[in-house]
Symmetry: none
Subunit: 401 residues, 2 copies
């Protein structure tokens, strides 16, 4: 039996006034998700632990069975992997923005949100000279985003951000957070990189006409690449990820998954979910385990738009209709809740349904946070998900004799 793990990003929610005190999952018309719940076993899941608010990175790691306490230091490595950099153990990686500085303070943290590829290209000439044996690697991202990796011995992720996270503030110095040689070396290399980048950007021909100019590098999310075993090695399952979004693609790549992005994918609220279903069906012919990620609900949550979240869920429901009849084990859940009235992540547990051959079907007939809580899975943790799926697949080792 093959497996599809579908993550509706940030789709979990709280009762929303605009939806007559229902959650988006409760308010949406979801005949296919309800069919999945009806034939499956359901529950709620604390992706990390009760009350803990997961990030998108730590949430996904936990769901795949990689304890973020062991493997996560910062978002940088996942963004860098998503931008196409193949990380080595010990690399320190950062998420970066091109920003606009005016009169010594940040005027726009995103330099007008416009693509900055030619600027990123220009930064590739930078060499670190004040710290021995450190090489910077940059890769372009979406719009104003790019990734920076420092490669070399004895580097550390324990450094501060240069991004002040607010306009009207000067770009910060990257400072060591501890007195180890690694943190000092990393901070020094960042400072040199930023100084040289500033010089290159100030004189870059494209900035003569660009408004606002891309004249500052805002660095954040330092993390060190840890020794993560590939998903296939860990579980013996060949895997593909059907995803659109640097972070999700990055997590998948870091775990050695083949990443497939549908050509028509937007990564936005108006996602072409049917294209994701199509790629999933195709990938399932070659792979044991397909991870299907849809970003839309999380964006509607961050925007505080319950009705839009309902629409993203209904698109996902249509997609589920394409997958329901496959001879596969299907798990449907979220990486975290993003309640619209919080406009951000929360630590509320997420609903989960698992359906397939051999499942102990329960009495749940509607997929939502409240109904699933009555299901036969009860309340599990993200770290339980892979053991539970492997058990249904009868791929788990016996502990004892």
């Amino acid at each position: 039996m093959k497996t599809i793990l579908i993550i509706a990003d940030g789709a979990g929610d709280r009762p929303e006034k605009a939806l007559k005190n229902r959650t988006p999952f409760q308010a949406a018309h979801t005949p296919n998700l309800n069919a999945l719940a009806t034939k499956g076993i359901n529950g709620i899941m604390d992706v990390i632990a009760p009350g803990i608010k997961p990030g998108s990175d730590t949430g996904h790691l936990a769901l795949f069975g990689y304890d973020p306490h062991d493997y996560y230091t910062g978002r940088g490595p996942f963004e860098a992997a998503g931008a196409g950099i193949t990380l080595k153990k010990g690399d320190v990686a950062f998420r970066c923005n091109m920003g606009t500085v005016k009169n010594g303070v940040v005027a726009d943290r995103r330099a007008g949100r416009k693509p900055t590829s030619e600027f990123v290209e220009a930064l590739k000439q930078i060499k670190i000279e004040t710290v021995h044996g450190v090489t910077p690697i940059v890769a372009d991202g979406i719009a104003h985003r790019f990734a920076l990796v420092l490669r070399g011995q004895d580097l550390s992720w324990r450094v501060t951000n240069s991004d002040p996270h607010d306009t009207g503030m000067p770009v910060q110095q990257v400072k060591p957070l501890e007195k180890t040689g690694g943190a000092l070396r990393t901070a020094k290399a960042c400072s040199e990189f930023m100084k040289k980048a500033e010089h290159i950007l100030a004189t870059h021909p494209s900035n003569k006409t660009r408004d606002p100019p891309a004249n500052a590098v805002l660095i954040r999310g330092a993390g060190i690449a840890t020794n993560m075993p590939a998903f296939e090695t860990k579980y013996g399952l060949s895997t593909a990820a059907i995803a659109k979004g640097t972070l999700y693609e990055g997590v998948a790549r870091m775990l050695g998954m083949e990443v497939i992005t549908p050509k028509t994918a937007t990564g936005d609220k108006n996602e072409d979910c049917m294209a994701f279903a199509k790629e999933t069906k195709k990938a399932l012919k070659r792979k044991d385990f397909v991870f299907l990620h849809i970003k839309g609900p999380d964006l509607a949550g961050h925007d505080g738009k319950p009705e839009e979240k309902v629409e993203t869920i209904e698109s996902i429901d249509e997609m589920i209709g394409e997958l329901l009849d496959l001879d596969a084990l299907i798990a449907f859940t979220c990486d975290h809740s993003t309640p619209c009235n919080l406009k951000g992540h929360s630590g509320d547990p997420v609903p989960i349904a698992i359906a397939g051959e051999g499942i102990r079907t329960d009495n749940v007939t509607h997929f939502d946070e409240i109904a699933c809580a009555q299901g036969g899975l009860h309340r599990i943790r993200g770290s339980d998900l892979m053991p539970i799926l492997l058990n249904i697949l009868n791929l788990n080792e016996k502990y004892g004799a």
Copy 2:
């Protein structure tokens, strides 16, 4: 209040097609189990942890509150204790078969499954000479089975099996799995034991007529006897085990329980459950805590026979009828699931009912995997069972003041 813990070995299951997509517990006629569920509190239990497939040994240890991660290295010590050897801390024990070798390869891993007592008796003369201070102890088991214990200082369970686990393969050398002196000494002692055993068996008069001959010793399941506190010491409860089966008797003996095996016990699918009830009632007059173990359902599961599993459950149900009216706390559950369509253990949670004075009765009225999941216990772990029972008995210590 006295306590009876009843383990229906491997009785948990999945929906079985032959039972109209019901589990054996759902399909069986179980008026007494249902009465127990009705007057009790119910739930599902991950004997080790969600999705983890327990062995019979690790499962029982977990249920008795002995974390297998602390106390378990292999099945050998429990089989040896079940065969009547009183183990000392540091003893390394093995499960052994008498097998048949022809033309250098194993032709029958069980030497025709016939008793081999006289051969085991002959092995008692073996002395280990190449490793200083090691004494072998052997004890006869059921049919072709026997136990081997190596006693001496600095021994290790980190050695391979001599049993190739398949016919057509030569008997393997026992090899150290690590470079410690203990592993090397143990492997060397095993090799000497096997060589001498082979010689004794080759010339044993009973082999002149026996077909197939018992001419090889197949060793597996190495484990070291750990420092397990007696059940009575740990909980302050005098205990008896009513059980039939080397492993279950062995676990009970390792925990210092008095083991009682009904004379008519078969240890098979056709168990004389009523005799177990009778012994339980008798033991309960002398003891605080009786562990009652019935093997049948597990065997039906391993054989892939759902209808037979239903029958074993119905026999158990009759037995429950004998115990229901006792003034005792009764806990009924399984050590693991053995789904008939897997013909082996699984990591599916097992149903559990606890009934007795002071229980918070819930709305469950049928004992099975699906109904119990709706109960007041929710989803617990094996390691929670003894604390929950001690709490109902009000024998638990206050944590704090």
